[in-house]
């Protein structure tokens, strides 16, 4: 498979995001029913670990990619790369906005109906609102990278 530098970069970002944040959300889901204070600490620790690991993995893999494709890395993006990036960004941004709107809706509902969240939420996870927002962000990133790869493979 003959891939451009930017496509390889998108594959790296997609797999690292899916792997690291997949592990993160899996562990967050396991906090269901855990004592609130303990779960809060665990969630914060998980978030920090995921962010640091994500940065480290991206830096290492992109450094290796740049070192093995230094000419392409220096060249940067051409018009096709920019167009695919722009189109994928549009889709990712739409998902992020939907996630933010849903989070805002949840904050407002819980604010006016404090009992609503406690009695009706099937997920008793501390910082749930923050996790929903984080999930929207990660989902938008995954869709953005997948969108770029989709356009590179299918063409446009």
């Amino acid at each position: 498979m003959d891939m451009s530098f930017k496509e390889k970069s998108a594959w790296i970002s997609l797999f690292s995001t899916l792997g690291i944040f997949g592990y993160y959300f899996y562990n967050i889901a396991l906090l269901h029913g855990a004592p609130a204070e303990l779960a809060k600490e665990a969630a914060l620790e998980l978030l920090l670990k995921a962010i640091i690991l994500s940065v480290v993995v991206e830096v290492i893999f992109h450094s290796v990619l740049s070192a093995t494709n230094y000419k392409a890395a220096e060249f940067g993006s051409d018009e096709r790369d920019k167009m695919y990036e722009y189109k994928a960004n549009n889709i990712g941004y739409t998902i992020l906005v939907i996630g933010v709107m849903l989070t805002l809706g949840r904050i407002i509902i819980v604010e006016y109906n404090p009992d609503f969240a406690d009695h009706n939420s099937s997920m008793q996870i501390p910082l749930l609102t923050a996790h929903i927002l984080m999930f929207s962000f990660i989902l938008s990133e995954v869709v953005r990278f997948a969108g770029q790869i989709f356009y590179y493979r299918r063409g446009y």
């Binding site: 051409d78 063409g155 446009y156």
Partner: protein, 71 residues
Amino acid sequence: MVEFHIVNRVREKRFFANEMTQQDLAERIGVTRQTIMAIEKGKYSPSLEVAFKIAVVFGCPFEEVFTYELL
């Protein structure tokens, strides 16, 4: 409905330009080799600017390289 699509003769033009490589053409017009490959396969329609640059590299009129034809 009548549908048109962009047809290009970049591969043919490269052949008659002393078998110019995709990399060579890419460097001359400032795109990646993969973009030239995508153009030749018809998977990507370049901007007008890049299309004109390709015609200039081969020293021929634009319509000799790119045409708009019935599907």
